[in-house]
Amino acid sequence: MAVLDPEQGGPAFRESLRKRPLSRWNETIIKAALAACAFVTLATTALIIFVLFRETISFFREVSFADFFLDTEWQPLQEPVSFGIWELVAGTLNVVLWSLLIAIPVGLATAIYLSEYASPRIRRILKPILEALAGVPTVVFAFFALTFITQDMLQPGLGKGTVPIFNSLSASIMLAVMILPTIASLSEDAMSNVPRDLREAAYGLGSTRIEVALRVVVPAALSGIVASILLGIARVIGETMIVAIAAGSTPNLTLDPLASIQTMTGYMLQVGLGDAARGTVDYRSLFAVGTMLFLMTLLFNIAAQIIIGRYREQYE
């Protein structure tokens, strides 16, 4: 390749130098195209906020703030209409409460077992199976909740009189199964990241394995565990199919697990199925509830990210 040797400066080398500005141009175009891709994600957020807020503002031109936040009745589809959001918020909190009561103990026990007790071989088998649960489409969980949990287990077990066909408990059980991989897997990561020194110091002082797990590892990994729970809450709040199919469509201001309820997402799906005409108050209420939902999930997601960010600083 003597001609390309800069010392000799052959014609081919000079030619290649002349071509360079063109290749710089290509690089600039490619970089601009890649930046444009990243812009799509920013535009998505901007569009979500724009769409939600525009329709929500129109909604509040027809329904006053006071009615929305002070009325306790949510009855938008039949006269006399009323738009008290709390019945829907209560429905969401109902399933959040009961699903967490199941998912936190089971998820943390799984995380402690995987991180502190399990042999590498058992871990290699157990973890992928657990993560397979995360891949199950939620409409499948919804089917299980309505048919197997309610019709085959709860109703025969507790009596048809006490368990309505649509109830919060069946939805909560399947929501717990849905977020189990999130809580178990992220908590396990946090526990595995606890430095060995802490464990060994505790063993050196004569602690047993469960004492090390509960009094050293869990407190040291607490921020990661809390973050996993917050992400789980955000997923429960935003989940639609399970609650829409299994929990019912009766807005109800209660935390009773055996009541028929409606969540914020459940209401949105109901309106979506009804093909609400554009410009009607039903259509706009969809976006008002959507804004509430968006803000609630955003709150939990951001809280989780802040906690994860703090926790990373601790050990790195």
């Binding site: 710089r24 979500i48 769409v51 394995r209 992400l231």
Partner: protein, 301 residues
């Protein structure tokens, strides 16, 4: 000389220590039992579903259109709709997602804008699918007047899966060691040549794994598509010409499962179970492929 006999020391703990040790031993089995609960649920649900639905799976079930008679209803239009929507979603989302990941990891100036872009993507990944549904309803179905069509569904799902695909691709690109880039740059390759010929090929298995997991998420999505209005009775095959097919109304397998689940008759419950078996086979096949690619091409740098 007499060797002094040493009394053997008893290492068995007694009293409070013994109780603590016993508690720890019992805890092991308790925790294992609870951990197996998740696994047990997965197997029990799989077993019950197979018992309920396997009898309904036959050729007619795959080739029949939906019907109000459970015994004649099939997955033809929902399976075709799923293929069309997923194919379009992939074509729209993957280039944008991988491009974004490359920009973030390789080209973006390290400034406040980049921090904001990353934070924004993390938050978008946590936005509930039904919110993407009402975004699609307002933007694509109503404002752009695409109607509840395949293209409107695919655009909605594309926006939904881009954030998680970006995050997975970023992780894969981060795994490529700096030495590979430096070697390429040192012999005179431009920045883009380095990315195209060295970084991307090394990151490809990780990117493909992330892409497959995102596709399996889109394949099971129901709420967002119902929100854009994809809940209609479809009894025709889509044209093979994309220009015509993309404007068609559609339905998908998860929507068909929803449709059958909410009917009270037992026969439709069997249809739903049968459709779930087929959907889960497809989803697990995708997840398994992703796992195999991840293990097969895992490189230790």
């Amino acid at each position: 000389m007499q060797v002094e006999q040493i009394e053997p020391i008893d290492l068995q703990a007694t009293g409070a220590v013994a109780r603590r040790q016993a508690f720890s031993r019992v805890a092991r089995y308790f925790l294992l039992a609870v951990s197996l609960l998740g696994v047990a649920i997965l197997f029990v649900l799989a077993y019950i579903t197979i018992v309920e639905g396997v009898g309904r799976i036959n050729l007619d079930f795959l080739t029949n259109y939906p019907s109000r008679f459970a015994g004649q209803a099939g997955l033809r239009s929902s399976a075709l709709g799923t293929i069309w929507v997923l194919g379009t979603t992939i074509a729209l989302a993957i280039p944008v997602a991988v491009g974004t990941a490359i920009w973030i990891e390789e080209f973006a100036p390290k400034n406040a804008l980049l921090t904001f872009v990353k934070l924004n993507i993390a938050n978008l990944a946590g936005v509930p699918s039904i919110i993407y549904g009402i975004l699609g309803l307002a933007m694509f179905v109503r404002f752009a007047e695409l109607g509840p069509s395949i293209i409107a569904g695919a655009l909605t799902l594309a926006l939904m899966i881009i954030p998680m695909t970006v995050i997975a691709s970023q992780e894969a690109i981060k795994q490529v060691p700096p030495s590979l880039r430096e070697g390429s740059l040192a012999v005179g390759a431009t920045h883009w040549q380095t990315v195209w010929y060295h970084v991307l090929p090394s990151a490809l298995p990780g990117i493909i794994t992330g892409v497959i997991l995102s596709i399996s998420r889109a394949a099971g999505e129901t709420a967002a598509l119902i929100m854009i209005g994809a809940f209609s009775f479809i009894a025709f095959d889509h044209s093979l010409n994309p220009a015509e097919a993309l404007r068609d109304d559609f339905t998908t397998i998860p929507i068909q499962i929803y449709n059958w689940t909410i009917r009270p008759q037992e026969a439709f419950r069997q249809n739903a179970a049968a459709a779930i078996i087929l959907l889960m086979i497809a989803v697990f096949a995708l997840n398994l492929t992703a796992a195999v690619i991840r293990e097969r091409f895992r490189k230790a740098y």
